[in-house]
């Protein structure tokens, strides 16, 4: 099969098309929506994020200044980050890894002066 020889030689000496994954990880793409990051320092618990969240992953208890976030419900659509008036919610580029068990995060704090 001489007509296949060039392809055979090329494939023999070219590097593999795949990455050696656990040792060699790809850099996340610059505008990728990887995961939601909550920074509660500026949060005023206004509840705009909870009202817009399409999967109800965020709940805000305004009188008690509590915010509950379930990362396993989050679809990383960035709707909450777009409406947050204080920039407390941001989207990070790196995707979240697997978890050993499911947990819900509860954030609380006082309103800044």
């Amino acid at each position: 099969m001489p007509w296949m020889l060039s392809a055979v030689l090329r494939n023999l000496f070219s590097p593999p098309a795949t990455r050696r994954y656990p040792f060699e990880k790809r850099e996340p793409l610059r505008r990728a929506r990887g995961q939601l990051v909550v920074d509660r320092t500026n949060c005023v618990y206004c509840g705009a994020c909870a009202r817009i969240c399409p999967s109800a992953a965020i709940q805000v208890d305004r009188p008690n200044k509590l915010m509950t976030f379930d990362p396993f419900k989050c679809i990383v659509c960035s709707a909450c980050a777009d409406v947050c008036p204080k920039g407390s919610l941001t989207i990070a580029e790196g995707h979240k890894g697997p978890a050993e068990r499911k947990r819900t995060y509860v954030y609380s704090g006082s309103e800044p002066k």
Binding site: R31, S55, I75, V76
Partner: protein, 361 residues
């Protein structure tokens, strides 16, 4: 009843060639298919009802999950129908970006189909090559919109993220570099002996049968009928000089060729839309709630997609109806199967590019 004894064979809902569950009850005479009775309903999720229960703005993310491949087109159709109901005019830049995302979706959907077809024929290496090229498009989606397939790029009133000049050039360059890769796949699909043997003359649908059973999309274009919703010029298609791709064979091969040529056409359309991208806003602010009825048609990779909505002035919709292309392509499938050999059933079924999760919503 004829003298030959018949056998009833269930094809699906779980079958190695089917990515999704559809059940075909095949009546066989020896190895020849003489009758088909389809059954769906294995992955129904009640999305139409769920859309009535939440606010109309949140539904964009819900309808994107109707289909795991053409999700952008679903979001586009939903946003378009709500904009029609609310009489909102979107900025021209948003229209062009919607075309770009629609066409990128079409490229990766058709490359997925070409890969699956190769896989159904046992052509593993072609399957992997097609999906490797598809990965380029999926990366483009992530670079521009932020996600690989369910990109959440559409919003009511426009699109959510802008594409700056550097990114635009990057996308144009990537599409240009992708073309020779698609050429290599195209050469194999068009000329490989095995692929031609398994698809030419298999699952033939005539023009009359196609019209009588209501085929849509590439199935209808493969019988010589120039029917494409993009001809109506929704979004920015009217300004891009769109011509539908038509083949005349009516068999599995013609359907594959239509999709293959559409990959090239989609690359051209995406290029054209990006080159002519007008400056300006990417979305308009939408206030109020939808009231009254509206219908919109868009061309999904698998055919025409219809969204109907009825608003009653509240933030919840009174009704959302989604008619997906595969739903209307099941009667043509049932028409084209009788007469074929049992061994050809998987390839013919795949040649309509069935999307069962779309069908059942």
């Amino acid at each position: 009843m004829s003298g030959t004894p018949t056998t009833i064979l269930p094809f699906g809902p779980q079958h190695p060639v089917l990515p999704e569950p559809i059940h075909l009850r095949l009546t066989l005479e020896d190895e020849k298919v003489v009758g088909v009775a389809p059954a769906i309903g294995y992955v129904h999720r009640g999305i139409e009802k769920a859309a009535e229960l939440r606010e109309y703005t949140r539904n964009v993310f819900l309808v994107e999950r109707v289909c795991g491949i053409c999700s952008f087109v679903h979001a586009l159709a939903y946003c378009q129908v709500i904009e029609d109901a609310m009489k909102v005019e979107i900025p021209p830049r948003a229209k062009y970006l919607r075309v770009v995302y629609s066409e990128l979706t079409r490229i990766h959907s058709h490359l997925l189909y070409l890969g699956l077809l190769a896989d159904a024929l046992g052509f593993e290496s072609l399957f992997m090559q097609a999906w490797r090229v598809r990965e380029t498009v999926v990366d483009l989606m992530e670079k521009t919109a932020g996600s690989r397939v369910i990109i959440s790029a559409c919003s009511i009133g426009g699109v959510r993220r802008d594409v700056d000049d550097a990114l635009r050039d990057d996308v144009l360059r990537t599409i240009r570099e992708m073309r020779p890769e698609v050429d290599r796949i195209a050469e194999v699909i068009l000329h490989d002996y095995g692929i031609r043997k398994r698809t030419i003359g298999c699952g033939v649908l005539t023009k009359e049968q196609s019209l009588a059973t209501g085929a849509v999309g590439p199935i209808q274009r493969a019988v010589g009928i120039a029917s494409d919703i993009r001809m109506t010029g929704y979004a920015a298609y009217g300004e891009l000089g769109f011509e539908p791709i038509v083949e005349t064979g009516g068999d599995s091969y013609a359907r594959t060729v239509v999709r293959l040529r559409e990959v090239y056409q989609a690359m051209d359309l995406a290029n054209k839309a990006l080159e002519r991208l007008p400056a300006g806003e990417i979305s308009t602010r939408v206030r109020g709630n939808p009231e009254g009825e509206a219908v919109t048609l868009v061309e999904a990779p698998r055919g025409e997609l219809i969204y109907y909505t009825k608003g009653d002035g509240t933030k919840n919709l009174a009704r959302l109806r989604i008619r997906t292309p595969t739903y209307t392509n099941i009667p043509p499938l049932v028409t084209m199967l009788p007469g074929c050999e049992l061994a050809d059933v998987p390839v013919i079924t795949l040649s309509i590019d069935p999307c069962i999760s779309c069908t059942e919503r």
